[in-house]
């Protein structure tokens, strides 16, 4: 497939916007698109080492597994699914999830990218409706290394009046895997979305995250962290739109890049005319652990309303040498001191994760990505 076609598929419809939006990732996309892709096999076998990585005890009977974009009944177990949760498969590649009440434990949606003999691709759609109460959800992408697999997941999410949706998106990709996720969320009156993204690995990860604060007093708390090494590449574009009165967003993302990794964070917040009383906060801090790593951050705030509280800040820096010396002067070795500082930096973005067991999983996954093995 030609790069232009991939661009059209994965990005804004407007040609100029599309150009701009792919500015930093076009070379990576072009390199990827030079290969011919065949359709990925939805019957690919899931081996035990891979299964161990997602078979979390806390979600054992609350797990839906998708193999290369297609729901796999044999790998899933939904026997403990609450009656307020409905999972329908409208088509082989399209799933509709409806949550109409409180969930004590999150539903675990696992998207596996399993390589074939040749480069392969899958695409799927997931629509989520949180209509009442406190809904929660984990979206988990992982897979095996091998030939390239390019996955694409298109999501439309609505959170109805007064409902809260809590999502954790964990993308723990093989270095041969690429993933495009586009999620568009609409929040109605008094609706809340609490989302956390943890983005690890991948040849190319692209996340387009659109949130419309369409109802009065709706609220978004977005947390995210990427921790990259090797030649991993993660590009996140957030587009938050305040469209109603007294809406709030609090966006806090952290990025860490080591070796030759590449990170991009574009955070756009727009406060529309008439969306008075909006409160928009965006913080994006990034850490470069090597001279060859690169991170680009672009906060963009556009305000067309009155009485708006808005703040944004973005930085790219290196480890604080004073802090490093302070730890070492107390006897902590260089490697451990670095690890402690990077882990602390990244952990700030995990403050909205409610379950201690989930936090522990995320900490465990992050730990080796934050410099522990680096000399």
């Amino acid at each position: 497939m030609a790069p232009a076609a991939l661009l059209e598929e994965f990005g804004p419809a407007d040609a100029r916007e599309r150009e701009e939006s792919w500015r930093y990732s076009r070379p990576a996309l072009r390199a990827l698109a030079q290969q011919p892709f065949v359709a990925a096999d939805p019957q690919a076998a899931v081996d035990d080492p891979l299964r161990e990585r997602f078979a979390w005890a806390h979600t054992d009977a609350l797990r839906a597994v998708f193999v290369n974009g297609v729901f796999s009944a044999s790998n899933s177990d939904l026997s403990a699914l609450a009656t307020v949760v409905r999972l329908r498969h409208a088509a082989t590649d399209r799933t509709i999830l409806t949550i109409s009440g409180d969930c004590a434990e999150p539903l675990h949606l696992v998207y596996l990218s399993l390589p074939g003999a040749a480069p392969s691709r899958w695409s799927a759609a997931l629509d989520i409706e949180a209509t009442r109460g406190n809904a929660q959800l984990i979206e988990h992408h992982l897979g095996d290394p091998g030939s390239d697999v390019l996955g694409a997941l298109r999501s439309r999410v609505t959170v109805s009046a007064g409902a809260t949706l809590r999502t954790t998106t964990l993308c723990d990709l093989a270095d041969s895997a690429s993933l495009y996720r586009r999620t568009d969320t609409v929040l109605t009156d008094d609706a809340t979305l609490l989302s956390t993204h943890v983005l690890l690995g991948g040849r190319l990860q692209r996340h387009d995250i659109g949130v419309e604060l369409a109802g009065a007093r709706s609220r978004l708390d977005s947390r995210g962290v990427f921790a990259l090494r090797g030649r991993q590449h993660v590009d996140t574009h957030m587009d938050v739109r305040h469209l109603a009165r007294d809406t709030a967003c609090d966006v806090l993302w952290r990025g860490v890049a080591d070796e030759r990794a590449r990170g991009i964070f574009h955070g756009a917040i727009t406060v529309a005319k008439g969306a008075d009383g909006a409160d928009a906060q965006l913080s994006n801090k990034n850490l470069l652990l090597s001279a060859l790593a690169e991170i680009d951050t672009q906060p963009a705030l556009e305000i067309h309303a009155d009485e708006v509280k808005a703040a944004h800040g973005a930085t790219v820096g290196q480890l604080d040498e004073r802090a490093l010396f302070y730890l070492r002067s107390r006897g902590i070795g260089l490697t451990e001191a670095r690890r402690m500082l990077v882990a602390a930096f990244a952990a700030v973005a995990l403050d909205r994760v409610e379950h201690a067991w989930l936090r522990a999983h995320l900490d465990t996954l992050l730990a080796p990505r934050v410099g522990a093995e680096r000399a």
Partner: protein
């Protein structure tokens, strides 16, 4: 224990220490006084192993080996402790976790058994009481949101916990009110013994009313220009640092290091 000979140190090409010599034996408390810019903090940082300090001449021998060859963490394990003039805030790193990691890292290097959390907490509680620090500080991030006085007391608390052989206090008294000053002094005095030495760097004589030194040295322009007993600190307080310089001029030499 510590033998510094003719030490020359540069920072960013500028010579700060210009032939400093100092010998500290176990059991002794040495006060280093001097005007701003004399090189007092440089001395502390060089001994602790901070990067960016270029030693161009001289030697530092500690416990019979070349201190300058050791990494900062190796120096800490060997018993050197620097109480920072400006303790660093480290968001996200829990104070208790940090202290236990530090203590156990040192013990491991020394071939001692690591402390489990019960043993560690017992030790922490004992030391907290001396410094009158609140338990709550342990649950916060390292130095984050601490007041100036709390940060300085936290340094002395860490010293008490890590039990170094040679403690260097870099202007620990600056910014402290009289009550905090006494707590810091109590913390130091409680640790004074025949096996341990202190180098107390200070701008003012006030701290030395509470931590009475065995020796007082005046550091000016990168060298020790005058040494004496505790009485020297009082003379300095009375006459100011200019007095030392004038006396040296009167003797026809500014070059005579101690």
């Amino acid at each position: 224990m510590l033998k510094i000979e003719n030490l020359h140190v540069r920072i960013a090409g500028k010579e700060i220490l210009k032939g400093l010599s100092l010998t500290v034996n176990a059991g002794e408390v040495h006060a280093i006084m001097g005007p701003n810019g004399a090189g007092k903090s440089t001395l502390g940082n060089v001994l602790a192993g901070r990067e960016g300090y270029e030693v161009t001449a001289g030697s530092v021998e500690y416990a019979g080996s070349n201190l300058l060859e050791l990494e900062p963490e190796q120096r800490a394990a060997a018993g050197i402790f620097l109480a920072f003039q400006y303790p660093v805030e480290i968001p996200g790193v829990n104070n208790t976790y940090f202290l236990r990691a530090a203590l156990n890292a040192q013990r491991k290097v020394r071939g001692e058994a690591e402390l489990d959390s019960m043993q560690f907490l017992k030790r922490v509680r004992e030391k907290l009481a001396v410094l009158q620090l609140k338990d709550e500080l342990l649950h916060r991030a390292v130095n984050e949101g601490f007041s100036g006085g709390e940060k300085k007391r936290n340094e002395i608390f860490q010293m008490a916990l890590l039990e170094p052989k040679l403690a260097i206090l870099d202007e620990t008294d600056s910014g402290l009110d009289i009550d905090a000053l006494k707590m810091v002094a109590d913390g130091v005095n409680a640790m004074r013994d025949a096996a341990r030495a202190f180098v107390v760097i200070t701008h003012y004589q006030r701290l030395l009313d509470y931590i009475v030194p065995d020796f007082v040295h005046v550091l000016a322009d990168g060298r020790i220009v005058e040494s004496g007993d505790a009485g020297l600190a009082h003379k300095l307080e009375e006459h100011g640092y200019a007095w030392v310089a004038e006396r040296k001029l009167a003797h026809g030499s500014l070059a005579g290091a101690a």
